[in-house]
Amino acid sequence: MASWTPLHVVTGKGGTGKTTVAAALAIALAGRGQRVLLCEVEGRQGIAQLFDVPPLPYEERRVSTGLDGGEVFALAIDPEAALLEYLQMFYRLGRAGKALDKFGVIDFATTIAPGVRDVLLTGKVYEAARRTGDTGYDAIVMDAPPTGRITRFLNVNAEVAGLAKVGPVRRQADSIMEMMRAPSTQVHLVSVLEEMPVQETLDGIAELRAANLPVGRIVLNLVRPALLSPATAEALTSGTLDDGAVAAALGRASLPTAAADALVGEGLGHLERLTLQDTQRRIVDAQDTPAVELPALPDGVDLGAVFDLAQRLRDALVRADA
């Protein structure tokens, strides 16, 4: 029945670059003349740090341009502010709203009943996804809680079911669930090509599916590119390329020959890492959720790097859709 703005929920294990990928995706989606909302729900102010702006208030702020001149807006959703706004919007509570705050009910409700808190956080996204006209968006990207908690977070219906059996919060939860399960929503899981994060990602996908939540893509972040040709890899592992051969070559290039030992060691370490990556890549390829890869950037992540990742992400998504 209802129609919503496309929603991209980005989750991932800690340390895999979830916020970076969410920001890159928002930039990638903001094509010419388009408006994209990037929101965070965990109070970490990760978006502000990435875009190098002051901490975000509970207010939609323009933080960046998109890849082709679109606009990216950011919002840090705070459950207490969302509850007050919600009460104001739906009940025009006025004095009672203030009293709720004074008696510590807001704190209580958003702390003791986690389901209620999640309804408020996702409820704000729901509100933005229903907007049309000048304040509406072409896409919404949510920097969501980590993989271990994502299904519980999105599955607000089940969470509040035990607490509120009837009433407006319950109805709100039902509407949010309808949006979360609609084809306009996709949950993307950020991982790195290491054993534990890949396992956690596959577990997360199984949980999302069991809750009827739509899984989008696996984003394999921080992937190491292969820097050695097959011939060099072969020569290195078979030992035909040894310290002596490398030292001689270094000498011809007027470089310190004493580095040969370390270079061979680093080359072997590089191959070992790639082998481990390939093992995990095969595991990811063997399941049916499509994956896109983003490279590790040796100089780390700054705003320029986020745009670089956005371009790669868009190329990968366009290629996959073609």
């Binding site: 800690g14 340390g15 895999t16 965990e42 990760g46 740090q49 009460l87 009940y91 509570l93 004095r95 009672a96 009293a99 709720l100 008696f103 510590g104 009910v105 209580f108 702390t111 003791i112 009943a113 986690p114 809680p145 980590p146 519980r152 607490l163 059996k165 009837v166 009433g167 407006p168 919060v169 290491e194 054993e195 534990m196 820097l227 040709s229 011939a231 060099t232 020569a235 290195l236 051969a245 490398v246 070559a249 270094l250 290039a253 470089l255 310190p256 004493a258 580095a259 370390a262 270079l263 060691g265 680093e266 080359g267 072997l268 370490g269 590089h270 890492r273 040796p298 100089d299 992540v301």
Partner: protein, 409 residues
């Protein structure tokens, strides 16, 4: 109902020898992990840091090394990777420590391990403090179920609760190593007990309890307005569930506060050492710096910082720029050894750039926190999932680690 833990710290009476922290004295050397583990005065080691930095592995490696050097150790883990859990025998989830097999006990030590079951720990607290009838009432209340299984601070609180229990038990352990939950912010772990106890002690709860207790004069007009609003929004069932829960829980409040205070004092005690764990990434190092400062402010004993997954420069004389220009020169050569060496120089250049970026982050930490001893642990190619892997990490954490590590990129 006097002050919460943080308002009544015990008087400072310990020596400052083991303290690091921003308030410490002169610049610290590297963190001497073996000395920390060998010191019989160290009774508790708490590993903390942001998610994904290898806290669980570090805790397990510290515990194993201590055990194999003669300590009688219990390690409390939160969420170990499956294969690591299996290798430590953590297959039974019964919320009690079990001996770990294949630990070298020639030095007279031992290792027990357990994985925290958050809800079960909470249930046990309730059962220990309430009559069977009242406990039953609490355990089946929907608000208790929500609170005990998903309240944002429950896991942190229960980890500390379990630590208090283990420390109080006479099981022959002389060292307890505790991993902390992967909080969105490492600070949740210090705040959780206070947050929970202030929540349960809040004004709203008091008002909810008032009708149950009698004095109707507490039912102010404002409160009527509030309950009216709640009933309107959530439905009347919710408020009555909350009221039942709070009334049943009331008897536990005193016990909770006492335990929170006792745990807080335990964390501050002389025998406790905090080890902050980080990875050489901006977020993790920022979080680590924040944590170090916070531990100092709370008067908690900090032993030092472990930086995992560090890429050290293997050929220190060869900069990234030199390697790149050398690679350019060799690439066009006809000699296959030259071409291969050119590629190796590319690998080295990338590694150098990573090492330089990481060194900058570590230097920044060192100059802003000169009193904090730091130990780097090199990046290993694969995950650690057996005791041998933990032993290797243990060696890397200490002076033994200098030999034989394969560099990875």
């Amino acid at each position: 109902m006097t002050g919460r833990p943080s308002t009544s710290p015990p008087p400072r009476r310990r020596s400052t020898s083991r303290r690091a922290g921003p308030a410490g004295g002169t610049a610290a050397g590297p963190l001497d992990v073996d000395a920390l583990l060998a010191d019989r005065g160290t009774e508790i080691i708490v590993c903390c840091g942001s998610g994904g930095v290898g806290k669980t592995t570090t805790s397990a490696a510290l515990a194993l090394r201590a055990a194999e050097q003669g300590r009688r150790v219990c390690v409390l883990t939160i969420d170990p990777a499956r294969r690591l859990a299996q290798s430590m025998g953590l297959t039974e989830l019964d919320n009690v420590p079990r001996p770990v097999d294949d630990v070298d006990d020639s030095a007279g030590g031992s290792l027990d391990a357990m994985m925290l079951d958050m809800k079960r720990t909470f249930d046990e607290v309730v059962e220990a403090h309430a009559s069977p009838e009242k406990a039953q009432q609490i355990l089946t209340n929907p608000f208790y179920v929500a609170l005990s299984s998903s309240f944002a601070g429950t896991q942190e609180y229960m980890a500390m609760e379990k630590l208090g229990q283990l420390h109080g038990q006479d099981n022959g352990w002389d060292l307890i190593v505790v991993d902390t939950p992967p909080s969105r912010s490492a600070l949740d772990f210090l705040d959780a007990p206070e947050r929970l106890s202030s929540l349960l002690d809040g004004r709203f709860i008091k008002l909810l309890l008032a009708p149950a207790k009698g004095p109707a004069r507490l039912l102010s007009a404002g409160f009527g307005l509030v309950t009216g609003a709640i009933n309107k929004i959530l439905g009347a069932q919710v408020l009555s569930d909350v009221q039942t829960f709070v009334a049943a829980f009331d008897t536990l409040f005193g016990g909770f506060r006492q335990r929170a205070e006792a745990t807080y004092a335990l964390l501050q005690a002389e025998g406790t050492a905090f080890v902050v764990v980080a990875a050489p990434e901006p977020d993790a190092m920022r979080e680590a710096a924040y944590f170090v400062e916070r531990l100092g402010a709370e008067d908690m004993p900090l032993a030092g910082l472990v930086v995992n997954r560090v890429h050290e420069s293997a050929a220190a004389g060869l900069t990234a720029a030199d390697a790149e220009s050398g690679a350019d020169r060799l690439r066009s050569s006809q000699d296959p050894d030259d071409v291969a060496t050119g590629e190796l120089l590319t690998v080295h250049a990338e590694r150098e750039r990573i090492a330089v970026r990481e060194a900058r982050l570590r230097d920044r930490f060192a100059s802003t926190h000169p009193q904090v001893p730091v130990v780097p642990v090199p990046a290993l190619p694969g995950d650690v999932h057996d005791l041998e892997g933990l032993r290797r990490i243990g060696r890397e954490l200490t002076a033994d680690g200098t030999a034989g590590a394969t560099p990875v990129d």
